[in-house]
């Protein structure tokens, strides 16, 4: 009740709710493609790699986006370059490049600003969202959702069977880097809500939860967005009521939802799985 009253009375609460719901939707949608393409680690890397870009934008006084997209994509290219041109494996290459980028960003921010700013960028604080940031999130949401809507076919086939999509002439590499660009935009949009460090959880946890519950991609996308939204609202509630970090509360709720699906999913849940195999074993021994 107190939470709803606060929502009615305080504008900052309304902004916080609207922004975090939008972040839940955007991350949930694009997260499906991230996990289906086996890019969870890459998502983590790119979200960390926007940090120096954000710092650079601060210095130059330009919109976060330009810097974030620049360093995000540079890191993605660097990861690919190192793993393709040496015996270094992809995951190692990811580890090297994104920690470098992240460290560089930390140094840049501490050099020019106070450490509170760094804290906010790393962990987010949805209760101090400004109107302009809310609109930024909204714009990113429109871009991401329309990209998924209009290129659904291409995203589906290049995720499911990249050889076929290349064979009939789809530009797999461009699709890959376009996804990376969207990912950097989503990270910037989520800065205030969950922060850089935990964005990856919003990208992959709701999507993984949905993945356990359905065999159809479009249903998975809707479910994932739904789980993102529920996590955001419930997380915000706990954050407000008990004065907890907003990003961390949202991520914890998302993980609880995952644990429920992991246990109770009709097809994939460990509960029914073990029951099915036990029943199967019993019927064999009884015969």
């Amino acid at each position: 009740m107190e939470f709803i009253e606060a929502l009615m009375n305080y504008e900052y609460m309304q902004k916080a709710l609207i922004t975090s719901v939008m972040v839940g939707i955007i991350c949930g949608a694009i997260g499906c493609f991230i996990i289906l393409r086996g890019m969870a680690l890459m998502g983590d890397a790119i979200s960390h790699a926007v940090l120096p870009g954000v710092a650079l934008s601060y210095m130059l006084g330009i919109n976060f986006f330009f810097g974030a997209v620049l360093t995000g994509v540079l890191t993605a290219v660097g990861i690919g370059y190192v793993s393709q041109n040496s015996r270094i494996k992809h995951d190692v290459s990811i580890g090297i490049m994104f920690t470098f980028s992240f460290a560089l960003g930390i140094i840049m921010i501490t050099m020019m600003k106070s450490s509170t700013d760094l804290y906010h960028i790393l962990f987010g604080n949805v209760l101090v969202v400004r109107t302009s940031e809310m609109w930024t999130t909204f714009t990113v949401g429109i871009v991401v959702l329309s990209a998924i809507y209009f290129f659904y076919k291409e995203l589906l086939v290049s995720s499911f069977d990249p050889i076929m999509s290349a064979a009939y002439g789809l530009p797999n590499r461009i699709i890959h880097y376009a996804l990376m660009i969207l990912l950097t935009m989503v990270t910037v949009a989520s800065l205030q809500t969950v922060g850089i460090v935990l964005v990856v959880a919003m990208l992959i946890t709701p999507a993984a939860t949905a993945y356990l519950l359905t065999d159809r991609l479009w249903i998975m996308i809707y479910l994932s967005m739904g789980f993102g939204v529920v996590s955001s609202i419930v997380g915000l509630y706990f954050s407000y009521m008990y004065n907890l970090a907003s990003g961390a509360s949202i991520v914890l709720v998302a993980t609880v939802l995952f644990a429920l699906a992991f246990t109770f999913s009709p097809k994939q849940g460990i509960l029914w799985r073990s029951m099915r195999s036990r029943m199967n074993r019993n019927s064999i021994t009884n015969n």
Binding site: K153, F160, D161, Y168, G169
Partner: protein, 246 residues
């Protein structure tokens, strides 16, 4: 009509030659087996023909055009091991993907495409499974679904990579029956295959490969002991050691 014309094709992986000096030309309306031992470069040849990997040297023409111009008329059925069978997609939706190359940008598959997908599922006998997730099928059923996807593309040419690996006998018969029908209707079908036993009954042309082109032509021209020994000499070495002469 000449379906595939290859001149002096060389392809390498990281500086190692995978196939070299391949030249052949193939008329349309043939069912061709690409045979050879493991590591002979069979899949590499197929991927080079599809322009999926860069070639070092040589020329490839399909229906007298470059592959780039004609690739929507070529259907590719991948090895089963290359597919993520946990992907959230149903049998029907997987077959619908076959219609994508013929759709425009932003165009979604409509009633017509769905009807076509059902028709193709019917041909491979998989209609009752249309709502299943693809990972719930047996190996043979999965292969039939991917053949249905290729049919839905309505191509002039089919490339299949090891379609009979891990496939039950019934599915194998269904698949080879459909491939022969396609051949008889004038389509060109190229199949990478490692099992010599059935090659002579399945195909009417053979490409015998071991890095280089060892033999090419009709079954009689290629199924000769000297050519087979040349292609499989590494594999036969152990037989000589235990006293069998080849």
């Amino acid at each position: 009509m000449i379906a595939i014309s290859v001149k002096n094709l060389n392809v390498s992986y990281h500086g190692e030659e995978a196939v070299k000096n391949i030249s052949f030309s193939l008329e349309s309306g043939n069912l061709v087996g690409v045979i050879g031992p493991n590591g002979a470069g069979k899949s590499t040849l197929l991927k080079a023909l599809l322009n999926l990997i860069p070639k070092d040297k040589g020329e490839i023409q399909i229906f007298d055009r470059s592959v780039r111009d004609i690739r929507k008329k070529i259907a590719y059925v991948p090895q089963r091991s290359e597919i993520d069978w946990d992907f959230p997609i149903t049998v029907l939706d997987a077959v619908l993907i076959g219609t994508y190359p013929n759709l425009k940008l932003f165009q979604r598959p409509g009633k017509q495409e769905k009807a076509l997908a059902y028709e193709c599922l019917e041909k491979v006998g998989m209609t009752p499974f249309s709502n299943r997730q693809i990972g719930e099928l047996s190996g043979g059923q999965q292969q039939r679904v991917f053949l249905a996807r290729a049919l839905a593309q309505k191509p002039e040419m089919y490339f299949l990579d090891e379609p009979f690996v891990g496939v039950d006998l019934g599915s194998e018969e269904t698949i080879i029956h459909i491939l022969k029908e396609l051949r008889d209707s004038g389509k060109t079908v190229v199949v990478v295959h490692h099992d010599l036993m059935k090659a002579s009954t399945y195909f009417n042309r053979l490409i015998l490969l071991n890095r280089e082109l060892i033999g090419y032509g009709s079954i009689e021209e290629v199924f000769r002991p000297d050519l087979l020994a040349k292609a499989y000499k590494g594999q036969f070495a152990f037989m000589e050691q235990i006293g069998v002469s080849v």
